[in-house]
Amino acid sequence: MLEIKGLTAAIYGKAILHGIDLVVPTGEVHAIMGPNGSGKSTLSYVLSGRDGYEVTGGTATLDGRDLLSMEPEERAAAGLFLAFQYPVELPGVGNANFLRTALNALRRARGEAELDAVQFLKLARAEAKRLAMPDDMLKRNVNVGFSGGEKKRNEVLQMAILKPRLAILDETDSGLDIDALKIVADGVNAQRGPAFSALVITHYQRLLDHIVPDRVHVLAAGRIVKSGGPELAHELEADGYAGVVADAA
């Protein structure tokens, strides 16, 4: 379970988050929607521990553990996964190699046995197949020469292999055509279950047609200004953010 209380944060001294309160119970998928500049990406980076994002107040815990005091890799070991809005290229680093290194680092941190190359490839190929992704995705260098859609699918493949407790998807739908969107959504839906929760950050309701959230929150100017069921996304789609944001102000 992700629990955020009164979270405030700044970038280079500029306050961006003004007190976020949010609970995502294990097993649930919540969506965060909001206009540009509302602090959606900042929230995902603060939770995952990126340098340069300064927490100025409040708390965030995952399954009762204090996320904010951990290094990024410790948060990953605690079960947090961030699907990047702009996945990063690692020239010369094979995707399978990268993923096995990551998976074994997580397993080590959790006191589990590491997987050898054969065990890993079996697992990775099975997940790739389940997500209808070609095997050669594992052989290519991490995100190098990938199309926008391939990069996002690769994020979902990584998530499927690393099996997080909490996945944050930061505008994973941006730059995707409808077929790719569906593949990505299927990948997320495949993870849904009693031990998995997700925070889906998006501008648009269309992703939420495919990943139907348990709750929808509207983030505006660094605060959650409205929360509701999946129908809230449809209202926003029809009426825009202006009304909600104005009501809250």
Binding site: P72, E73, A76, L90, G92, F98, T101, A102
Partner: protein
């Protein structure tokens, strides 16, 4: 993929002292007095019981050296070297040359064991031949200060006609070959350090692969400088006769000392028609401490001559050590359709300085060369790629491709690329690509978000950056090279 696991293991295992080869061996040494003059050269020659032609050859080199000035065109800085304040000969004291490992000082064997050199050939030297299912074998010539202490697998090699022995023995046993080829690629007066080496070289390896023979195993030399205030001046000569093939590996270490030690080697390769020589180096001489105290001055001349048609010489080097590296393994592409290759990873950290690259001289028709250079700089180090591609008038259809990439870690290091390109034939095609990049914060964060520690992330990114070069190394060395990269760059981020 196990390579990365190995890399991570190496990081994991590495102690607080990043140079774990910095021990010294307490052994009785036979030292020549300090200083350089004709008497010292005569002494070296006498110790090695050399024929008079070689003494004359040395004295010619010394005469040339005295007329020369130390070169200062490289982007390296060091206090003046006092060439009279060095020992030019240091040998472990023993009766006669070792006939087998049993005769080698056990203290030396322990040294090599610590270095991880595969001297498991002990049994073979003792007369036990390996079984059919033995893993791939590597013949090793181990050079300790000025002398070669053990060359393994010689009997096996002799069966196929391959000569692999210390060069001092080759002078005695194969004088015609040595006399014919010594200095034929790097003449005595080639440059200041080559002239110095020619005057005082003490040992090194000699390899001759006869016509049509594919050398049945990897050949390897390990060099180690142990004695204080000594220079190491080894000389390696490899001749691949028509249609033959050989892969040669070279590794180097030195103890940790406060003063600088001089290493000025010469390597000469000759490839005749259709011959192939692959020469790989993992250089890990002591680089000095974090403040730049101590470390090896590595001033090396390496050159290969593709004398024959369709001959092929490939240099691969992973350079992580030395306080100063001054080294340009080159190819003279004389034979038509001959091929020269240079693959290099040079890592500098702390106060290390590297000025390294290659020369490709295209003389024959349709000669081809490939240069892939990867420079990694961290700390306050300076890393320069200096490369020359020359196309001579007769070299119609010559082609060169150069890829030269630099990776910076941190804010206080430098990377420099100095290409010299000269084409005197209008049909030549020359391509030069160069990039400079930093390990980006977003790359590190991406890796750490997936669970990798910062150091593992750096290793992964650096190994990815070097992949095009590391894949050229023989398997055993590729693993060692990856471990070295990990250990060398430890603590360079953050």
């Amino acid at each position: 993929m196990s390579d990365v696991a190995d890399t991570m293991q190496a990081v994991h295992d590495a102690t607080t002292n990043p140079y774990k080869w910095g021990f010294t061996t307490d052994i009785e040494m036979d030292l020549a007095p300090k200083g350089l003059n004709e008497d010292i050269i005569r002494l070296i020659s006498a110790r090695k019981e050399e024929p008079s032609w070689l003494l004359d050859w040395r004295l010619q080199a010394f005469a040339a050296w005295k007329q020369m000035e130390e070169p200062h065109w490289a982007r390296v800085e060091h206090p003046p070297i006092d060439y009279q304040d060095l020992h030019y000969y240091a040998a472990p004291r023993k009766k006669t040359g070792p006939k087998s490992l049993d005769e080698v000082d056990p203290e030396l064997l322990r040294t090599y064991e610590k270095l991880g050199i595969p001297l498991r050939e002990r049994a073979i030297l003792a007369g036990v031949e390996p079984g059919e299912d033995e893993p791939r074998q590597i013949a090793v010539d181990a050079v300790f200060d000025s002398v070669s202490v053990a060359t393994t697998f010689r009997a096996t090699l002799q069966k196929s006609g391959v000569i692999f022995c210390p060069i001092s023995e080759a002078v005695r046993d194969h004088p015609d070959l040595v006399r014919k080829w010594l200095g034929s690629v790097v003449p005595q007066g080639d440059n200041f350090f080559a002239a110095l080496n020619s005057a005082v070289f003490t040992d090194g390896s000699f390899v001759f692969i006869p016509k049509g023979v594919r050398c049945p195993m990897e050949l390897s030399t390990y060099f180690r400088i142990n004695a204080r205030n000594t220079g190491q001046f080894e000389r390696t000569l490899i001749i691949a006769d028509e249609g033959s093939q050989v892969s040669y590996l070279e590794g180097c270490t030195a103890p940790q000392r406060d003063e600088n030690q001089l290493h000025a080697a010469v390597v000469e390769l000759v490839a005749l028609d259709d011959a192939r020589i692959k020469y790989s180096t993992v250089q890990n001489w002591y680089p000095g401490d974090a403040e730049g105290r101590g470390g090896i001055y590595n001033f090396v001349t390496k050159r290969g001559a593709c004398r024959g048609a369709r001959s092929h010489i490939s240099w691969t080097q992973v350079e992580t050590g030395s306080a100063i590296t001054w080294k340009y393994p080159s190819c003279i592409l004389q034979g038509d359709d001959s091929v020269g290759e240079f693959y290099s990873v040079a890592v500098t950290t702390n106060c290390q300085q590297a000025d390294t690259g290659t020369k490709m001289v295209h003389i024959g028709k349709n000669t081809r060369s490939t240069i892939v250079s990867k420079g990694i700089s961290a700390g306050r180090s300076n890393n320069t790629y200096r490369g020359q591609v020359r196309i001579m008038p007769r070299a119609s259809g010559a082609r060169n491709h150069t890829q030269c990439d630099s990776l910076l870690i941190g804010e206080t290091c430098g990377a420099h690329t100095v290409p010299y390109i000269e084409s005197r034939n209008p049909t030549a095609k020359i391509e030069h690509e160069a990039t400079t990049s930093k390990i980006a914060d977003d790359q590190l964060f991406y890796c750490r978000q997936r669970g990798l520690s910062e150091e593992d992330a750096v290793n992964l990114i650096v190994n990815g950056f070097c992949k095009d070069v590391l894949k050229e190394l023989p398997m055993e060395f590729a693993v060692e090279a990856q471990k070295l990269l990990a250990v060398s760059l430890e603590g360079s981020v953050g």
